[in-house]
Every structure is written in structure tokens, then in C-alpha cells.
Amino acid sequence: MTLREFIISRLQLFCFLVTMILVTSAVLGAVIAPEKELRYYHLFSPVIIAAACVLPTIITYFRKEPTIPEYIIRLIAELSVIEVLVLIMVSPPADVDIVYFRIMLGISVFVIYVLATLMMLYQRYLQSKKFTRQLRHLQKSE
């Protein structure tokens, strides 16, 4: 992956995360504090959190090609940094148990991370399908 492709993939990830955080906030909010009302400025939260979560993904960009174990270690490091960042950034509502809230938040971050990783893998799968199609075309044209 070139730096340009990496930046494009991070922008795609950012948009995906904003959507996922918005959905998760709506679901968690409906479960934990359904009576709570939000103000307009709260709508910025998914954007700010998504931007903050995309930054640590720089960990997974490397000039030298990593081995599969190195790559997996970086993914775990990336997830850990994101978990810590979100747990620091998001504070629970006043009348909600902190431990319960932190666990729910941690699980939500993990689920979103897995979904985002799967989305990126799916994009690479689509790219490889495109390569195979182009390859067939090249072989037929000879």
C-alpha cells in the first residue's frame, strides 16, 4: 500500500467510524439512559471520537513489509490504543454505574474495530477479485 492509498483508506475508515459510533451511541444511549436528552453540540462527538480513533491506526502503516505475526501484534497494539483513548474521552452519564458503562463501551469499541477491520479486508478482497478479472481479460487477449 502506498502512502496515498493508506490516506484514502484512513478517510474511508473515518467515515465508517462516524456512522458506527453514531449507531452505537444511539443503541447504548437507548439502553443505558433512554430518558437523557442531547444538545446539538453532542452531534460532534462521533466526529471527534472517530478522528481520534483514526490517528492511532498510523501504527499499522509501515515502509518495510511486516511478517504476519508483526502485523497481528500491530493490530493488537492499535486496538489497545483506541480502547484506552475512547475510555479516556467518553465519560458516563451521572446516574449510570461507571464499571458497567466502561465494560459496555469497551465491548462496543471492540465490535466496531472488528467490523472496521472486516470492512477493510472486504475491500482488499474486492480488489483481488478485480485483479483476477483483469488477469483473465489479459490472458484471453493473448
Binding site: 502506498t2 513489509e65 504476519i68 508483526e70 502485523y71 497481528i72 483481488s128 488477469l135 489479459l138
Partner: protein
């Protein structure tokens, strides 16, 4: 038809013969000190291993005295592509391409063998598949 006359068949002359043959769609390789002519269309990939260069066909592996960069240049027009620091792949022998975990791709050959396409060479692959090379 090209004729080469020489007093002794030295290594240099052998290299010249191999070069001329490779331009004509054939490579020269050895197996157990026996020399063979290998049609380029039979080659799956060419790999450098510890300063030696090997030519892989469906069922045989030949050693060649030619250099990887020389073959890269000669075989470029025959849809051979460098896919890692040490390997040239014949795109005509690839049945499919699938993703690998660490930004690499895997080329599945018609022989069933799989070879790794390094991240660094993916842009070249894209160009080759679009017909830019």
C-alpha cells in the same frame, strides 16, 4: 537463423547463446548438468535463491546462469512481472489473485502453487493488468 562461430565454447559464449535464445522465446536451463531449451510459455516463475537462479515449469525446476535483472528486461514484453525482490512471475500462468493479511497478495498458479506478491510490487501489478507495461 543466427550462426555463432567461436574457437572454444566458453562461459561467455554460452551466456551470449542463452541471451539470443531468450530473445526468441526460449530460455536455457540445466538439470543435473544436462542443458534444456525451455519455451517461455512453459515457465510459471523464475526465482533467485542464494545467488542462483531457478526456472520453474509445471513439473521441473531448471537452473540458469542468466541474471534476474536481465530476464526481467527480456521477459517484460512476455507478461512476466517482478513480484518480489527475488521473483519474476508469468502472469499468463496465474489462475487467480487473493488477498493476504499484511497488505500482500497471493497469486494462485494453474499448477496449484501459490506465490506471494509483495506490497511494493502491487502498483506494478496494477499497471501490468491495465496493459501499461
Amino acid at each position: 537463423m543466427l550462426e555463432i562461430h567461436c574457437h572454444t565454447l566458453s562461459d561467455e559464449v554460452k551466456e551470449i547463446i542463452a541471451f539470443v535464445k531468450s530473445r526468441n522465446g526460449q530460455l536455457t536451463g540445466t538439470v543435473d548438468d544436462t542443458m534444456y531449451e525451455i519455451p517461455v510459455s512453459d515457465i510459471y516463475y523464475i526465482e533467485a535463491v542464494e545467488n542462483k537462479l531457478f526456472i520453474y515449469t509445471k513439473s521441473k525446476v531448471y537452473e540458469t546462469k542468466q541474471k534476474l535483472y536481465e530476464l526481467e528486461e527480456i521477459l517484460k514484453e512476455k507478461h512476466f512481472l517482478k513480484i518480489s525482490k527475488s521473483m519474476l512471475l508469468n502472469l499468463m500462468k496465474v489462475s487467480s489473485i487473493k488477498p493476504s493479511l499484511n497488505s500482500r497478495f497471493i497469486a494462485v498458479l494453474y499448477s496449484g502453487e501459490q506465490v506471494i506478491i509483495s506490497r511494493k510490487y502491487v502498483p506494478e501489478l496494477k499497471k501490468a493488468l491495465k496493459g501499461d507495461t
